[in-house]
């Protein structure tokens, strides 16, 4: 569920998000209820094993608003008793009242955007919390019984250095998160920092330096007992985000809210990006999608490849249905063998994966294999 509100906009962000106002939130929730009514019947038999409140800033919703959203969701869908329920929270908005409401609703995992622990960097990134705030938020969350906490970091943005990166990583590790995501900065056109990077006004570190920052991250996290289970995601053993794996293993999921995507009944859909446009469609009784693409065997196999090879454990037969795995074997079996022979992939009984040293060039490997896939006979 995408919650499209933020207190302020960060300088690098192009997510669907708008200013927080009571009227906007009311409209959002009304439309959300309509979307749930629209989608819920289509998965009446399913029991949902994970829920993810993403954003935007889900933690920006007041307790009343959050309860309303949660009720709509629970009334519409069957949620498994042991479901993983994650909520993205910005450190500055984590307060005892909210933590209580979340816990009461069953949220059992919090993902906090820290991005950096260096004050100058936080300012440059447009973050409104200070470097100490994530630590305080963590302590509060722990005190409220949250046992699965995740932290987001960012690296490779303009002006980033190895020395500062090390500082951020160490501060993050000191909080002992169960899970950690670290994204290499993407210069999104139309965002202040993205444009400055593209125009050269705020030069990006060279790709080699970004690669070095990633290597630094991997090494530091490995030493602290965190494994890389996807390009940008690390965790203590067993602390993988179940919800993320739904995307990456191409399991069905429902997306709700503006810009949300879903994969349901063999169709990939994407909702309108702008909250107003999304709401308007629903208010008119129409579908909120801006794109709908039925999956084909070829697109499904290619997607599975593109997502599966990003996983630390790679593509494993057990993760797919036997029929789908044999499709993958048929299309890419030859390419896998060839890729292994040229050092691009590792392959054994557990599956195929990109060797750790090549993780930061994963796109190259994936395209290489995809280009050698054979069309179904």
């Amino acid at each position: 569920m995408h919650v499209p509100f933020c207190a302020t906009r960060c300088t690098y962000c192009d997510f669907s998000s708008g200013a927080l106002s009571a009227a906007a939130v009311e409209r959002y929730l009304g439309a959300l209820e309509r979307e749930i009514a629209l989608r819920a019947p289509r998965c009446a038999d399913a029991s949902h094993r994970s829920v993810f409140f993403g954003g935007g800033t889900p933690s920006a919703l007041s307790s009343r608003h959050f309860r309303r959203a949660w009720k709509a969701l629970r009334d519409g869908f069957r949620i498994a008793p042991d479901a993983e329920i994650t909520l993205e929270a910005n450190p500055e908005s984590v307060r005892p009242v909210l933590l209580e409401v979340w816990a009461e609703a069953g949220v059992n995992r919090l993902s906090m955007g820290a991005q950096s622990f260096v004050p100058e960097e936080l300012a440059r990134l447009g973050r409104i919390h200070d470097a100490a705030r994530p630590g305080e938020a963590f302590a509060l969350a722990r005190a409220h019984g949250f046992r699965r906490l995740s932290l987001d970091l960012m690296f490779g943005f303009p002006g980033h250095t190895a020395e500062r990166w090390r500082r951020s990583i160490d501060e993050a590790l000191a909080l002992e998160p169960e899970h950690l995501s670290a994204y290499c900065f993407i210069a999104e056109p139309g965002t202040p920092l993205g444009d400055a990077a593209i125009s050269g006004a705020a030069p990006l570190p060279a790709p080699e330096e970004q690669a070095d920052l990633y290597a630094l991250l991997e090494a530091r996290l490995a030493a602290a007992g965190y494994g890389c289970y996807e390009t940008s995601n690390f965790c203590r053993p067993g602390a993988e985000a179940r919800h993320n794996l739904v995307y990456w293993l191409r399991r069905p999921y429902v997306g709700l809210g503006p810009s949300a995507h879903g994969l349901l009944d063999g169709v990939r859909y994407g909702n309108h990006y702008a909250p107003a446009r999304w709401a308007e469609q629903l208010e008119r009784g129409q579908g909120p999608e801006s794109e709908v693409e039925p999956e084909r065997e070829a697109s499904a196999a290619e997607e599975a490849l593109m997502l599966g090879l990003r996983l630390g454990g790679g593509m494993r037969p057990d993760d797919y249905s036997p029929a789908f795995w044999s499709t993958i074997r048929r299309r890419y079996g030859g390419a896998f063998t060839h890729a292994r022979a040229t050092g691009r992939l590792e392959m054994d009984a557990d599956g195929v994966r990109i060797p750790a040293p090549l993780r930061f060039v994963a796109d190259d490997v994936i395209a290489w294999v995809a280009a050698r896939g054979v069309a179904a006979s």
């Binding site: 994204y183 290499c184 900065f185 993407i186 790709p207 080699e208 970004q210 690669a211 990633y214 996807e230 390009t231 940008s232 993320n244 995307y247 990456w248 999921y253 997306g255 810009s259 949300a260 995507h261 879903g262 990939r268 994407g270 794109e291 693409e293 697109s299 290619e302 997607e303 593109m306 997502l307 990003r310 040229t342 050092g343 691009r344 090549l358 993780r359 930061f360 060039v361 994963a362 796109d363 190259d364 490997v365 994936i366 395209a367 290489w368 995809a370 280009a371």
Partner: protein
């Protein structure tokens, strides 16, 4: 054969327009077509006879184009004119000589600012060799830089055509063109030949038409030909029944008959071009004792290169496309070959680099084929220890140096025409290319013609460009095959991560080997994108490495985020990345882009 023209042929004039490249032949043809009302104003456009897409795009003529015109002259009589516009580029000289064989006269066009250039002279000599009447015309006199008096003097000096008989024209404005047409009628003789004798016609060109099969372009020398006539080709005695004859307009225009002296086309259900070869004589089937008309020397390919489909599944398509191309391009030859690096392909022979470029371009456009071309090579004669003599036109087929006693390389006799001030530069260039000076003459005080025997391998790739650059564009080149001479040749291999890439091998002179190797390695380093692993690019003679470059590994190529909404975006990106990968050829562990195979063409020597 009658010495004088039969009065029945008195109204026919067959002529071609010849010149150095860009001197205005096709534009002059435009004016003649207008003046004779051959085309409607709607059909008219600049260089209308250049009807191939590539001709229009490059602004040059590649194939000769024949077209029939009618003209009511000042003497009140109506004449049937057959005009053949010819290409000016040296690669296509054979087109000119064939066109000349169908004509009694030639208009030699000379650019009023450029003056006589290499192909002005070589085409003039071809025309004279075939006893044609040559009319001189100085073109582009409308340009401020024109110097018609000097050029007229040059023409007289070089060709013997009296300066005062040379017309000043502008093919652009049309000035002087009507006078030229009158001069053509007055000076170019009507065809000789016997209208009453059995049919004899010379095939001077042929093309393939989807519906008609082979269309032979002929010059009827004796007799006549009509639909229903039984004919035979004298070289192979194959017999056919004529289904259609006609004259050449923008399209084929059927006529009831073609008579002695006329130029036109004959269709006779011939399925393969090989059965109606250019240069062959078409005769009346009933007459057994016909003498064949003089044909043409076989055109010999000068440059060879392997053409490979980028994607190996395209092999059959490439084969079919080449089969179609030769129907209209007799100068192209090809045969299957295989390469370790590139798989199955064809070794092709071309007249020169322009011809090679055009063939590749046509395969690309007309047949949607993505190709890789191997390093162009000339044909070597190789004498082996065991006494065997080999011809090698593919560097990767060169036997190991130990087995070789001697290698002979082809030479050309080249003539460069240049303003005298660049003579020093040009002689230096020829010397660098291992040229043997054979003569120097002055066409006039400031214009020289210098002769060199040069190894063909030294000039096929970039000599022409270098020549232009050392003479600020003023020098021009003409060459002809001049036999084989021994040379100290070595084979240079290119290795990528220690794997030889046969498609990049070259045979070069030992003195140039180091430079070649260094330069090619440096260029490849620029053209091959960084790979996941470091790549060593090496040049080697036998097992001895003579040059090396190292291409560092790519460090970053990854999408940071790949969640719900990113997936569609990422898949589109992957489509592009895949396309990029497909345009690369995997050689051992290294991915090599198509363009890298062109690097050889740019090597400085």
């Amino acid at each position: 054969m009658a010495l004088l023209s039969d009065p029945r042929l008195g109204h026919i004039r067959n002529f071609c327009i010849v010149a150095h490249i860009d001197h205005g032949k096709s534009t002059l043809a435009d004016r003649l077509l207008e003046l004779t009302h051959t085309l409607t104003p709607q059909q008219m456009k600049a260089q209308v006879l250049d009807d191939m897409e590539l001709e229009r795009e490059k602004g040059i003529t590649i194939k000769s184009h024949a077209i029939a015109m009618e003209y009511r002259a000042r003497d009140g009589r109506t004449y049937h004119l057959n005009l053949i516009d010819t290409p000016g580029h040296v690669d296509f000289t054979y087109e000119v000589s064939r066109s000349l064989a169908a004509c009694e006269g030639a208009v030699l066009v000379v650019d009023a600012s450029q003056g006589i250039e290499a192909q002005t002279l070589s085409n003039f000599l071809l025309a004279r060799e075939q006893n044609l009447t040559v009319i001189g015309a100085i073109n582009k006199v409308d340009l401020p830089a024109s110097r018609p008096e000097d050029v007229a003097f040059e023409i007289e000096h070089v060709t013997g055509i009296p300066a005062e008989s040379v017309l000043r024209i502008s093919a652009k404005t049309g000035a002087g063109v009507e006078d030229l047409l009158e001069q053509i009628i007055a000076e170019i003789p009507a065809p000789r030949g016997n209208p009453d004798a059995p049919l004899r016609a010379l095939i001077f060109d042929s093309k393939f038409d989807q519906y008609r099969g082979v269309v032979a372009l002929v010059r009827v020398v004796d007799g006549e030909v009509r639909p229903g006539d039984a004919i035979r080709f004298l070289s192979n005695d194959k017999r056919y029944e004529v289904t259609e004859v006609g004259r050449l307009r923008l399209r084929l225009e059927p006529l009831p008959r073609l008579a002695a002296g006329e130029v036109g086309y004959v269709v006779a259900g011939v399925k393969t071009v090989a059965d109606a070869r250019v240069g062959d004589t078409v005769g009346a089937a009933a007459s057994e004792n016909l003498r064949a008309l003089p044909g043409f020397r076989d055109v010999k390919p000068m440059v060879f290169s392997g053409l490979y489909p980028l994607e190996s599944e395209q092999y059959e398509n490439l084969k079919e496309a080449l089969g179609r191309l030769v129907l209209n391009d007799a100068a192209l030859i090809y045969e299957p070959e295989t390469s370790v690096a590139l798989g199955f392909g064809f070794r092709c022979g071309f007249l020169g680099l322009l011809h090679m470029e055009i063939v590749q371009e046509r395969l690309r456009r007309e047949h949607q084929l993505d190709l890789i071309a191997t390093t162009p090579s000339v044909e070597f004669h190789v004498l082996l220890e065991n006494g065997q003599l080999l011809t090698v036109d593919n560097p990767s087929q060169m036997p190991p140096a130990n087995d070789v006693v001697a290698i002979e390389e082809p030479y050309v006799l080249a003539h460069v025409l240049t303003p005298a001030e660049y003579l020093g530069n040009i002689m230096k260039l020829c010397q660098e290319r291992r040229g043997i000076h054979v003569g120097l003459e002055y066409l006039e005080e400031k214009r020289a013609r210098v002769g060199y025997r040069l190894p063909l391998g030294e000039i096929v790739l970039d000599f022409y460009d270098r020549l232009k650059s050392v003479s600020r564009g003023y020098a021009s080149l003409d060459y002809e095959f001049d036999g084989y001479r021994e040379g100290d040749m070595v084979k240079i291999d290119i290795l990528l991560n220690a794997e030889p890439v046969d498609a990049l091998s070259a045979i070069v002179h030992r003195d140039k080997a180091y430079e070649w190797g260094r330069d090619l390695c440096a260029r490849l380093k620029e053209l091959i994108p960084r790979q996941m692993f470091q790549v060593a690019i090496q040049a080697a003679i036998g097992s001895k490495v003579i040059a090396r470059e190292t291409l560092g590994a790519v460090r970053k190529n990854v999408t940071a985020k790949c969640y719900g909404g990113d997936i569609t975006r990422k898949r589109k990106l992957l489509e592009k990345q895949k396309e990029g990968k497909r345009r690369m050829k995997q050689i051992g562990t290294v991915e090599v882009p198509q363009e890298a195979f062109l690097a050889v063409l740019k090597v400085e020597r």
